[in-house]
Structure formats: C-alpha cells, structure tokens
Symmetry: D2
C-alpha cells in the first residue's frame, strides 16, 4: 500500500485526493496546503491527515510519494524537496514558466533516483491513448499528419492570464505534449497568435492560436487553440496515416440526440470542463504513477517531456511574436 | 430507343417524364392527361407530343411503353388496356384498393406477355438497395429482424384520407413491399392502429400504426408509421442478421452540422418529401424498367408483388380493427 | 451514515458493494453469502464484516438497509424478512417468476412501512433518464411511439435458460419496466417469439422476440429483443413525440473512429456487458435508494412496478405461445 | 436560351456538356477539341455540333458563351480570344501557372465587358455553400478559425506532377479559393511541404502540405493537404465562429452503416473522385454562370479571385521552399 501526500488542496488536489482514496493500491496519507482550512477539509473527506506546513511533508515518514498540485511557481521547489527526501513525485504541469529554472531542476534531479512523473494527463485519456496505441499497432500505417483541436469553454480572467506565462505555456502546453506523444522530437515550429478578446489582448497575451510543428521525418502536427468555445470544452484529435485515419471526438454526458423541426440528430454540449472531460485520464494517470512506483520503473511523461513541451511553448511564443518560424533542430 | 408515354401529368408524372427525357435509352414520346392543359405543359418542357385522350395512347404506334401515373381507380383499366395493346407497363402503386379487382386484373394479364412492373420505388433507393444487396452477399449472416421507420412530414387533408383506402393501403403499402423485399412471404400480421389526429380519426382512419409481420422462418419485421414527423420525412431501415446489423439513415440536403451553446453536431431536417428523398430511387427504378423492356426480361416488382403488398394492407387493416393477428399462411 | 448489508456476493453483489463503499453517505457494513468464502473475500476489499448466515443480517443491529442480490427464488423470502425486521430494502430484479408469489409478498409488505425499492437499474441510466426527463419537460410534445432495442451480446447457456422463467421474465423484464416508465399502464400486449438458437429452442424458450404494447392513450411501445448481438450489448431507445424525437444510442469505451479503404467513421463494438454498460446506472440507482431512505421518502421503482413488469412478462409469454394478443385492461 | 460551346472534350468537358444539355435555359451548341474524334463523340450524345478547329468557336455566330476546359496552358489564349469576340466565358482552374501571364491577361480583359467567371466549383458545393451562407447570416457569430481538410484519393503520376505547377498551384489552388471565400484577403502565408511519395519527391514536388493563412482581422485558415487518402476523396471544412461552429463532412454514395464484431456504425468510403463528389457543385456553378450571363450581372469567382488564389499558391510554394512565412500585405 503506497502512502501518498497531496500538496495543494485546490481543484486539481481534490481530483487527485479522490483518485488516490479510491485506488486499491494506495492510501491518501496526508493533505498539505498552507492556506486556511483547505487541507483539513479535503483530508477529512477521506480520513487522511492534514497540515498547513508543506515542508513537513518531505520529512514525513508516513509518506512514500507526493502529488504536487501547488501553484506553478512552487512546482520546482516542491519537486526538488520531495525527490531529494526520497519521495516519488507526480508533478502537475507546467513544471515552470522559465526554461532556465527547469534545466537547473533537471540537473539537480539527475543526482536522485526516485520516480518522477509529470501530469500531462491527456496521454492517459482512453480515446487519445487508443488512437496512439492503434497507430503503434500499425492500424493506419505510418503517421503523416496530426490535427489537435483544443478549445476551452471560456476565457480565464485577465488577472489569471497575466501570471499564466501566456497561452502557449499555460494552455497549449498540453497540446505540445500530445504532439510530442505522437511525433516525437519537433524540429520546427510556426505559430499564428490571435486576439479576439480585448481584455486578454490588453493583458499582453493571445486568446487563440494556430501552431504547426514538424518532426525530422516531415510529419506535421497542427494545433488549433481558442480560449473560448460556445459548445463547451472542445477536445479532438485526428491522426492521418499512410493507410487510414483515426479520430477521437468530444465526449458528452449522455448519448441523447434530439430531432425536431429545426435540428436533427442534435447532441448536447461537450463535457465541460477538464475535471469532467479528463476524469478518466486523471484516474488512469495516477494508476500509471502508482504502478511505476510499486514496480520501480521509470514513469512517463518524464522531466524531459516536461522540458520539451516547455521548449515548444517558448518557440511558439517567439514565432507568434516575431512572425518567423523557430527551428529546434 | 424506347418510346415511352406518360399517363397522368401530375406530381409523379413530372418525375417520370423528367427521368425518361434524361435517359440515354429512352424518349418521352407522349404525355396524356384528360384535364386541362396539364399534358401539353409537361410535354412542352421535353419536346414530347401530348393528348387529352388517354385511350389514344394505347393505339399509338409511336409508343412502346407506358408509365401509368393516373389516379388509383384508373390504374387497372389503364394497365389492362396498355398491356393488351402490347405496350410494356410501369404502373404506380397501389395497383388498386380492392383485392377482388386486382385478382381479376392478374387473371386478365395472365394471357399477355408484355413486361409489367409496379412502382415500389423504395426497392431502388441506393441505401435500402445496398442493405438488401449486402444481406444477400452474406455480410450480416441470416436475417433475424427488420425494422422500418417510415413517417411522413405532415398529415394529408382529411378529404384525401377518406378516399385513400386507409393508412395501410395508402402509406404502409410501401413498407409492406419493403418487408416482403427482405422477408419474402409473410405468414402472420399484427397491427396497432393509433389516432393522434382528430380529423383523421373522424375520417375513419388511423394516423399512426405499428405493424409486426412474421415469415415462415420466424423472421420478424416491424413497421413504425406516423402521418406526421416534425423533423421531416423520416425513412430509416435496420436489418439485423446473425453476424451483424445494417442501418440506412435519413438523408439531408447537406452534410452541415452546427455546434453551439445549445446543441452540438446538429444536422438539418430530413429531405422532405418523397420526390426529393426518393429522386434517385425513381430514376433507378425507371432505368430498371427500361433495361428489362429492352432486354426482354421480366421486371420486378411484379403484379404478384403488388398483390401481396395489398394483401398485407388488408390484413393489417383487419388486425388493427379487430385487435387480432391475421394469419396468411 | 447509512449502514448497508449486501446479500449475495456474486457479480451484482460486487457492483453494489463497490458503489456503497464509494458513497459518501453510506457504509458497507456487512456482506452475507452462504457459499464458501465469497462473502469474506468481498467484505475484505472494503473493510466490511461478513457472514455465511444470511438470516443473521435481518437481526443485525448494525444494519439499516439491505441490498438483495441473492438468486431469484430467494428474493421474496429475503425481502420479507428484511422488511419485517425494519430494514430498508433494495431488491434485484425479477422479484420472482410467479405472479402468485409476488402478490402474496405485496400483501405481506402492505403491513410494513420501510422503504422498498426494486432494481430496474435502466431507469437510472443517464441517457435513458435524460430522454425521460426531456419528454417530461415537453421537449418533444406528447409521446406517440417508443422503440426499445435490447440485445444481449451472446446467449446464456441452456442450463440457465431452463430455470430463467423464459426470455420475457428474465431478459425483457427490464424492457417492460422501461416501457412502463414511459407509457405508464399497458392495456394490450402482443408478442412474436423467435427461435434461431437450437439449444434454447430445445430448452423450451425463445431466443429473440418482438413485443408491442399499447397504453390507454394509444401510445405504442415496441421491444426488439435478441439473446445475441455480434456488435455487443445493444441498448438503444427512441421516443417519438408530437413535436420531436429523442434517441439514446449505444456506448463505447472510447470515441475513436477509424477510416480506411474498407470503412469510414467506424466505431468500436458497444460496451459489453451490463456491468459495464450500466455502471453509472447502478451507481445512480443506489444513490437514489440511499437518498430515499435518508429522506424517508418512498423510492421507485416500487413493488407495484415490479409486479406490473412481471405481469407484462406473463402476458407476452402467453401471447407468444398462443399467437393472440393479451388484454390487460 | 443561351447557346454554349464547350472547348475541350476531356473529363471536365463531359461534365459541363451534360450539365448544359440538362439546363432548361441553355443549349449545348458546339463542342470543340483538336484531338481525334473526342469532340464529335461528345457532341453526338447531346445532339450538338462539333469541330476540331477551336478557333472557329470564337467566330461562331451560334455561340453566346464558352466553357473552357482545355489544358491549363491554353486557358488564357482561349479566354482572351473568346472574351474579345464578345462571348461570355466560364474558365476552368487554374487560370495559368505563372502570375505574369495572368496579370497580362487581366489587363487585356479590362477592355472587354463580357461576363468572365472562373471554375472554383467548391464555392457551389451545397454543404460548403451552406456553411458560408450560415456564417453570413450570423449563425456562428464572427469567424475566428477555418479548417480545410482536402485529400485526394491517390497520387497522380509523376509525369503529371512535373507539368502541374506543383501541389500548391494544382491541388491547393481550390483550397486557397475556399480560404479566400471565407476569410477574404490574406496577409500572411506559412506552408510546410511534406514528402511521403518518392516519385513525387524526385519530380521535385511535395505530396502533402499544411498551409496556414491569416487575414488582416487575425482570422486563421489551415489547409491540410495530401495527394493520397485511403478512405477516398477527403473533403471537409470546419468554420469556428465566436458563438458556434459549422462542419461540412464527407459524402458517401449511401447512408448505410455496418455493425458487427469488429466495427460499429461503419460507413462506406467517401465519394471518389471530384466528378462524383462535386457533381452538384459543377451543376450549380454552371447555373450561376448562365444566370449571370442572362441577367447581365458580373459572375464570381472573377478573374481577380483566380489571380489571388494563384498568388497564394506562389506564396505557399515560396514558404514551403524557404521555410519562411510570406507576407502579402
């Protein structure tokens, strides 16, 4: 039985706490959050211990592994502290907003051998994972084109946008990881940033974007992003191979379709938002983490995956600002 | 080049005239309609001759074949006159409303050898025909169940209903032929008649019905009828076999799908009405007729098919009225 | 916190035990099963007590409610014992195979006031429930037709069939409840039984059927059953109303669609079997039970619903055997 | 009645000849083709005159309008000769492969006032046109993103590729026009060229590409091209607006869907190839041309549209070769 601590009792901390509590091979041992009674409230639901002293987690003998759901600027400090204390780590994305910090962290982590995994949960989405698995099995031949449509239901507040690191580091980061999941290393990036939301423009960020990426074999991935989508959280993927195409569509709460004088075969809006849409993915991700820790194998996505996704975010940011493609070869 | 006359310059006469004119192996030779200038107007469009004297069609040396689109009570007289005059015949459905009349006609026709075909156009619908062909090819094993959903967009006037012969002879007749197309001879019929439309109830007819039919092998077909469907002309079919299922869905004018805050993936209403929905079927049907006449082969659906569909309509009428199944064994 | 005992540690007992354990308002207190170590094994997973003495459940002070997942012949004895002991009861379907037994049970239950609910889980399926709710909201006007397609993935062994009470009591019973959920009281039933499976024919049962049912308002429901479906557990529903139609489609594990030279837009087989397909339904059903017990309200489906579904099963059995419709007015 | 001549009795000439012959407001007066008996054979089908002397078309008093379906290098000479002779012109795409030639032609055409239209038939496809019309009606608010997926069923011979002007001028030209149809003037183009086909690579061309285009308002269009698609001629479009999204899907010959143990809901491959997929579009295009000529209005797509599409093709060619975006502002 793996004893796991959750750092950060916010939205994502709740998801992980629930999943850990329900996992037959894990126990939610401790919830840590420095603010108010967030930790105690969450811990109580699952009969776990709680603390407002986050540092105490790293020296807690009853903790084998740590799930880091703290604010982004704390990811690296918490990650390093946990890993150096010998705790296995599952860290939420993005690892950080600045590449120098991440590379320094990687160097420090090089000396420790505990399992460290990063929360690119979409790799574990059953539909996206099935597309990937069927591609690997040769069901559509060799990959030639990948299309990722990824739109949020509505734009975050400008206050959030200002500290988010920008759309590419904050939102597209998931899509960059998905592109790498399918294409491997990327050698060139081009991005068109778009502004339809005045507040976000004033906050200095884009609210939509189209990013194209190419790997060394010439496979191209296109990412279509928008901070807002009327129909809900629009998360689709299409992989075209030399002998076929695989699509993964959006998910709705029910299969109900309405036909009347105005519309036929009309489904309901998409599952909204990521906690709902990727509920299965979070659960499977955590299981993969626990399985790797128990088996002593190296979990993925690794810190190198986190670094490469961030590198693509930086390249897209530069491309969208300068209007020039960025070479990563 | 087959010279064809069209009797009846109404809605269905227009369909056939257009198809004949466009067919490379046929010529629209003559249009006959006793009322006003209907014949001359239709004939003019395609450069054909016209007449208000329908009887003259049967002695016209420039006519090889006749398409009968006159009112139902005239079907048999026109059919017999044409066939006895040595003209090939394509007759619209239903052949008649009374079984005695039809059986007498069959006896009279027995003495002539010209090709006679009946206008159950749905057998020629590309989707329904493909389901039938794939079933014949063994793609779903042996047929176990057939489901026909057949709803008109809106109820006809009560005046029409009164002379229509009732829903089973007038509307379901097509579905009975489709059931026979897939199941062959039917041994038992059960029908629930339904009344949601007051005018039609007062006219002494049902405006909806569910009919179940069984063949000797135990295969069951279900026909779901309604004189009214908000979403348009609802024409679907599902054949379940021992190793698979085939569906034919409705048709829309475009493939466009709308997603917004209320609906996702919403298509437009169905093609409405039979002239649109079955435009291809009418064209392919006429080609089959012309091909059979040219090749000298016996076309189907035959008069026996027309009789058997009418027999099912009579059985369903009886079942819906008495509440008892009717055996046809 | 409601303390619940599960009687019967078989397949369905596992489902309920897991759901109870995960429910924030309930505790899995006790698992009872007379055979071997089934109870202890299941109890251990969730830290519950266990016993092989089923009768001890009814006198257990630590038990507030009982979920009955024992074999069908024991449903009524367990139900009565539990209810008389003042325990709330959720009893699996079918309540029994013989109407006399059920009516006697109802009379006995009349004297007790504990909440008693029956496990027609499909009422709680999110898609079917959404169709029902949208119909109630008037989204498609008044109901005119209901179509239920319900096919199992593969036939059960003949040994099972022999003691099952027949397809209508064993399999269609769920569809009868669904028909009643939408149509209310049924006044007439007609059934065609079908035989495609030799073993089941020899066991004296049908392996497929088409049942039509009518309520007093003339609304007709059609149930299409088959013990075998190549594509998986085929569970669909279509409600046609005066102003629109609602459909609920099958569910797959992923949304992936494949297109290649043979097929386009091809989905994977349906979720297979009921434990997967109706996982959400079982969970929501149990929550409804717990909510009703906690709130002191009368849960549905009630024993009257169980009786009426059984009455329809008996009527369909008679109709399929005699070839005559059965009136229930 | 408009008397129309068709120049070029090849594949596309056949399409236009048939459409003209069936149009109630037009007559196929003349078919001209210098090679063999192509013209006489095609003319015979529709009872038209024929000639191998193409130049005679321009002085033919019985010709009001000319449809140019000759090889690309002859488009401009035929177009200028016809227009100067006072004939209305519908010219197939691409107008030419070299921008200088086209600009010179535009200058020459400036002096004549006959209607001249260019054959970007996809604007007339019912589904794409419906998306455009619904966007114009405000059904999805303001356009923010356009996605065009356009894949041919199989690669043309390398011999064809060598004289085609390259994928962007030959194949993407249609998609560029579609992008302009929705976005208007484009200010920046980026293209990734791809090579999966060795023969085409050796012929100096790409066989797949992803092109992104931006207009002055910041709307981005993405074109995903491939010379080969296993599932058939893959022609889709998605327009995302501020309040909704519109999709146009592929078309199949039937609506049939197959479900079995391997696949469910599987459709057949897409209509293949452009003569089938865009049959309606060609017909509606010609009607628009005839209507404009009869009404004396200026038809679109105009020569400016043809020029702008070619300009985008040149920009994409440059971008794919240099790796840099091309500004068109």
């Amino acid at each position: 039985m793996l004893n796991i601590a959750v750092i950060g009792a916010g939205r994502i901390g709740h998801v992980h706490a629930k999943t850990i509590a329900a996992h037959p091979g894990a126990t939610l041992a401790l919830v840590a959050d420095p603010f108010g009674d967030a930790a105690s409230k969450l811990a109580e639901v699952y009969g776990a211990r709680h603390t407002t002293d986050v540092d105490s987690v790293f020296t807690d003998e009853g903790v084998d592994a740590v799930v880091i759901g703290s604010p982004t600027p704390l990811h690296i400090p918490h990650l390093l502290a946990a890993a150096k204390a010998g705790k296995a780590v599952l860290c939420e994305k993005p690892i950080a907003l600045d590449m120098k910090d991440v590379e320094a962290a990687r160097d420090e982590l090089g000396a420790v051998s505990v399992p460290v995994m990063f929360g690119f949960n979409r790799r574990f989405d059953p539909s996206f994972a099935a597309v990937h698995a069927q591609l690997e099995e040769g069901k559509i031949g060799d990959l030639e084109n990948l299309l990722i449509i990824s739109r949020d239901p509505s734009a975050p507040p400008a206050e959030y946008v200002k500290v988010s690191g920008g759309i590419f580091r904050d939102m597209t980061i998931h899509d960059f990881d998905m592109a790498r999941f399918f294409l491997g290393d990327i050698v060139e990036v081009h991005a068109f940033g778009q502004n339809f939301n005045e507040e976000i423009r004033e906050a200095g960020d884009f609210d939509a974007a189209v990013v194209t990426l190419k790997n060394a074999a010439g496979v191209v991935a296109t990412i279509v992003n928008n901070r807002k989508c009327s129909a809900g959280y629009d998360q689709r993927l299409e992989a075209q191979g030399s002998t076929g195409t695989l699509n993964a569509d959006n998910i709705r709460a029910t299969t109900v379709r309405l036909s009347n004088a105005e519309v036929t075969d009309a489904a309901e809006p998409y599952l909204d938002f990521f906690l709902q849409r990727y509920a299965d993915a979070y659960r499977i991700e955590l299981t993969a983490f626990i399985d790797a820790v128990v088996a002593g194998t190296k979990p993925t996505p690794s810190i190198d995956d986190a670094i490469e996704a961030l590198r693509l975010a930086e390249a897209a940011t530069e491309s969208a600002k300068t209007g020039k493609p960025v070479s990563l070869a």
